[in-house]
Symmetry: C2
Subunit: 334 residues, 2 copies
């Protein structure tokens, strides 16, 4: 009989995704949750079983800092679900890395951090190697549907000229914060203003393009992104929001990567209330041509926490460093 | 300016797949073909440019053995495209491994060799580690559509209960040897007799099931496989074969993996002449449910050589050993 000690995990960030990650982690016999970290005054000191409704987490508490959590044990890995920006994540991750603790993060800009800040990425990579830590950003989008999956499909390509992905999400089936983040109930002009200021919209489209280009070794001229409002054709009411005809009911974002003057990567996402026919579609133009359809699309929230938790064993097996999906073993349910 | 020496490659086996691999390898600036190995008297000594019609290969010759080829240089990697059985491949690979040379192989039983012979797989793995060589079996099927792709999709699954894949191939669009291998023109009874004797049919269905189960950590009760003839409803003539109504025009194979008495992996392949609506379809039952359709299917021959050549860089970066798709970085066009 082989006895394997479960991987010790701490949850950093106890928002909706963090709590869902904890619930999933609690079901895995190969994982042991030792505690959570969150600054929020209404969470510090609380029991994770009460916060998640998951009895298996009874006795695991929320600490204000990782340093405080160390009193109950040193995790092998931190599930990091708190911010979208690489720069903000780096500030939180540096002390974790210095402890030699690895990180799996939902931070959108960590799927291809060198695209956002090459110098910072190189510095964190060196720090990881120095301390024997691994840092990996993943999720469903970015992190899977619009980047990893097209890259995997290119593995059977003799040639690839162009990659396109379309993702249509029915936001009515998603959580409240997301329904608000896509601009439900704003005027279309307000959505577009906030989008241009980086305060609304889907995070990670450019990062997906950068990851595809990195995987295929394509040196891009640049990456552009536009965001427009989807306008409600009739009044819409969900459990979380109310939208009148003519108001914004979601977003239509288009990201384009160009190479030698040509659009070679085109990612398009429509995420809006009551969207009919949600799906993901991937096309690789090349030899052979590939046309892939995911009926209904990959469900965002459920699949995101699955991507995080499933990544843990293969991240821990990889070499230390700031890792990309193309550096580690392929995604797999664990 | 960075000068990188191209990866030196030798082609072992100069059948149709081997020649196609060479043609693709000749287009890659990061690869340099140094020669070929084949026992056939009508190939030994010939120029690869003449055999493939690819002028870039002029001056590269066919040797009767790898030992003879070493006179022109030691390859970093051998593309091995000669046999379907693990035991036969192992005999050819052992001397290559002992030279510390890595191998990417189209041998169907190498996608999950421990399923065929666990002791032999362990011995080869140890030999690889001893000599710093990597051996990896890949292709489109087995090696991608019916195994690697479902495993990758499971990476965003909270739970998976059952995996099914259906592949329908229009054999009229494929090469002559394949049209014959699927039994075109035989009586249905003859196909079924030859299938049961292991002399006809698609190789690798059980191996795909074993690879999925390995990836997901599922311990199977067993794997069963059945093969039936597809019967021509009218006379069919292709460039390579002639089939009369009532004769066999292809195959219908079904592989099932059971776990705790339940069918948890079901792979079904129909490969026959004039098959309408060729496609690959993958379903994961679980949370979230996933239904993926590849319109037209992944073209077998073109994509198989792409899978082989694209695997080279990530195999050379992996740790020495007898490697599975779940051990190395994810598939990617290079």
């Amino acid at each position: 009989m082989q006895e394997i000690k479960p991987i010790q995990v701490a949850q950093f960030g106890l928002g909706p995704i963090g709590l869902e990650s904890l619930k999933l982690a609690a079901t895995k016999s190969w994982l042991e949750v030792i505690g959570g970290v969150d600054l929020a005054a209404d969470k510090v000191g609380r029991d994770l079983a009460d916060l998640t409704g998951e009895p298996a987490l009874r006795g695991r508490r929320v600490f204000e800092t990782l340093a405080a959590l160390l009193a109950v044990g040193k995790p092998d890995v931190v599930l990091h679900t708190s911010v979208s920006k690489f720069a903000a994540a780096a500030l939180q991750l540096e002390p974790i890395i210095r402890l030699g603790i690895s990180v799996v993060s939902s931070c959108e800009e960590l799927v291809c951090p060198a695209f956002r800040d090459a110098a910072l990425a190189a510095r964190l990579d060196a720090l990881c190697q120095q301390h024997g830590a691994r840092v990996f950003g993943t999720g469903v989008n970015p992190g899977f549907v619009m980047d990893v999956l097209p890259v995997v499909l290119s593995g059977v390509s003799r040639t690839v000229h162009r990659i396109s992905v379309q993702r249509v999400v029915n936001a009515s089936t998603r959580r409240g914060p997301l329904q608000r983040k896509i601009g439900s109930g704003w005027s279309p002009a307000e959505f577009e203003r906030r989008f241009s200021e980086g305060e609304a919209g889907h995070a990670g489209l450019k990062d997906s393009i950068a990851l595809i280009a990195h995987g295929l070794g394509w040196s891009l001229d640049g990456i552009t992104e536009t965001g427009r409002a989807m306008v409600a054709e009739r009044d819409i009411r969900t459990d979380h929001v109310e939208v009148r005809q003519g108001q914004c009911c979601g977003l239509h974002q288009l990201g384009i990567g160009t190479r030698a003057g040509e659009s070679v990567i085109t990612l398009e996402i429509k995420m809006y209330l009551d969207a009919p026919n949600p799906h993901d579609a991937i096309q690789l133009e090349g030899e052979p041509p590939l046309r892939v359809l995911i009926e209904g699309g990959v469900a965002g929230d459920q699949a995101t926490v699955a991507a995080l938790v499933n990544a843990i064993p293969r991240v821990l097996k990889a070499r230390p460093g700031l890792l990309l999906a193309t550096d580690i073993a392929l995604p797999c349910f664990v």
